[in-house]
């Protein structure tokens, strides 16, 4: 009896959670996929209508803007955060004084929500209130920094705010990784006459491979759900120049009562994420199993 309980208890405890997530995550994904094949407008409609919503979606110029923005933002955000985080971590790893204090300062932005970050940067980057005005007041009246209100550059302000918030976090992860590299290996390398550059590129960085995976996954999911940052910083503007698939979907579902088109865009987002994440995870996990 006791043994039976022991064998089944873990499964019993986990199963409600499993059932709930099965329903609320995968159940709703299935529902959304189905809705994307209907003519649902103001209310869900369950008559199958084929690919009509996808045709409509791929004819909407705003959707292309949203997709381009997602790629521009994700690539820059992940790239810059990783590079900057790595760089800061290596600098901090040189046994500098007051390391604890500096680390805290870099990590602090992560404690803020994206809404706060977005609002603060909205004021900093606003040409009439923030940086541009300060420099003008200092006497440099030719200075122009109007990316926030320039439709071609506005998406980069989202990158700036995102990087400011998240590179400290990447730094902390890398720093932990750097510290976990075995000292004996480093000593051996030093005895063999390897300089700092060679030590980092040949020994330490290859050792950090699992850390790179964690950083990539964390930053990738932050960039995909960057809805709140965009809403607070630019609200999709100027015009819809900084629209992302998430804000596109919100706007179609809740502001325009076009549930079908919104569902189609949600399915496209899911497909995009799967297309990027699954091969990466697959290759990384296969390597570790080997």
């Amino acid at each position: 009896m006791g043994r039976l309980l022991e064998r089944w208890l873990p499964k019993l405890v986990v199963s409600p959670l499993f059932a709930v997530s099965l329903f609320f995550v995968y159940g709703f994904i299935a529902w959304t996929v189905y809705i994307s094949f209907t003519r649902s407008g103001i209310l869900p409609n369950y008559d199958f209508a084929g690919l009509i919503q996808y045709v409509r979606l791929w004819h909407t110029p705003r959707w292309y803007v949203a997709l381009t923005n997602l790629f521009v933002f994700s690539i820059l955000f992940i790239g810059v955060c990783t590079a900057l985080g790595m760089f800061l971590a290596i600098l901090l790893d040189q046994r500098v004084r007051a390391e604890g204090a500096i680390r805290t300062i870099f990590l602090y932005p992560m404690a803020l929500s994206f809404i706060v970050t977005g609002t603060a940067w909205k004021w900093i980057l606003n040409p009439g209130l923030g940086l541009e005005k300060v420099v003008h007041d200092l006497g440099f009246t030719d200075f122009r920094f109007d990316w926030l209100v320039n439709p071609h550059m506005a998406i980069y302000t989202v990158v700036i705010a995102g990087v400011w918030q998240s590179s400290g976090y990447a730094m902390a992860l890398f720093l932990a990784g750097l510290r976990s590299v075995d000292d004996d290996i480093l000593k051996a390398a030093a005895i063999d006459g390897a300089g700092p550059w060679r030590t980092y590129t040949r020994i330490i960085l290859p050792n950090l491979r699992p850390v790179f995976l964690s950083v990539f996954i964390i930053l990738a999911h932050l960039s995909i759900k960057s809805f709140d940052l965009v809403i607070a910083l630019t609200n999709g503007g100027p015009g819809y120049a900084t629209d992302m698939p998430a804000t596109f979907m919100y706007s179609f579902a809740f502001q325009r009562s076009e549930l079908g088109t919104a569902a189609a865009s949600a399915v496209m987002m899911l497909a995009t994420i799967l297309a990027i994440i699954v091969p990466y995870l697959y290759s990384e996990l296969r390597e570790t199993n080997r």
Partner: protein, 418 residues
Amino acid sequence: MMTFKNILAATVVAAFALPGIAKADGTVEVLHWWTSGGEAKAVGELKKAFEADGGKWVDSPIAGGGGDAAMTALRARVVSGNPPTAVQLKGPGIQEWAAQGALNDVQGVADKEHWDDVLPPVLANIMKYDGKYVAAPVNIHRVDWFWANPQVLAKVGVTEMPTTWDEFNTIADKLKAAGITPLAHGGQPWQDATLFEDVVLGVGGADFFRKALVELDQDALTSDTMIKSFDQLRKLRGYVDDNFSGRDWNLATAMVMRGDAGFQIMGDWAKGEFLAAGKVPGKDFVCAATPGKGFVLNSDSFTFFKVSGADKIEGQKVLASLIMSPSFQETFNLAKGSIPARTDVSLDKFDDCAKKSREDLLTAIKNDTLVPSMAHEMAVSRSVRGEFLDLVTTFFNSDMSSQDAVKDLAAAIQRAQQ
């Protein structure tokens, strides 16, 4: 799929279960998003009046997103079969819900109180589905207003308000030369669309407005008049300061108030900002109609959903009658800054801008130049309106040519209507 619907229904019903069950003289549950300032006060007036009649009022305010959150809640409640009695819902949205079979009509009350005789016909048609009233309007907002600072205009020697866009351009050039921002504007899609529709009225007149923005006639949308309208919109873009992106409308109003800008083009909710700051119409600020000799109509209304039970239906009828009563229309609109939807309510207690609004409204009804607002969800469905907003705001924020704008607009409208 049925299981899902049932579970959703159960969840939603549980979440919204009403505290207690009322008896007596009717119960209404009113879903709205008037949660701040004059709006909250205005809806408080309705509650007070309803309770004075012995009814039971259940308030369901859902703030957020300019009504988007409330619409989401409404959708869930209608799907679950437990709709509120009345919802703050306007324009073609009324028809969309009616087409889903989700509304009750209040034609009995309307017949008895002769609503047809006191409402502008354009507005009455929006309130009806299949010839029967399913909603009751509480107010009339006018969208095509200039709000100007007379002291600023006097600096460049202007005393008369412009009556054509060419006159406006001349004045604006003078202001610009004097180093004053001619037009205070906030770069949000709905504000861009407000400028656009006022420009269309001024350039093409009321008949053209109706063909293009209400009937969505492809020939009108691609016509030279539409190209000219975009040309004028491009001119307005030049009269806006560099920092307009994302600015809220009330901040633009404050620019006019402070004298930083000459004009704002905005509906008469802007008046509330001036009055709240203690400004006097005619002296500290001037209101005048934008060109076109028309009247762009925006109106809030309560729509009656399909509730069951004698108690609730009784409450619905009492509420309908109350909303349309002259005394309520007066108190509500004094609090909100609009004018009564009924054209027979005396405006003795209202300010001069409101009186001008009524006067122009009656002229517009007589000359058939009263048009429903596209930008404020009175003319076309939310999906079509969304396409207008996307295109107009892209045009305003880029260097797109008027010809391209017209072409893209016509294509986008066609797509949304499929």
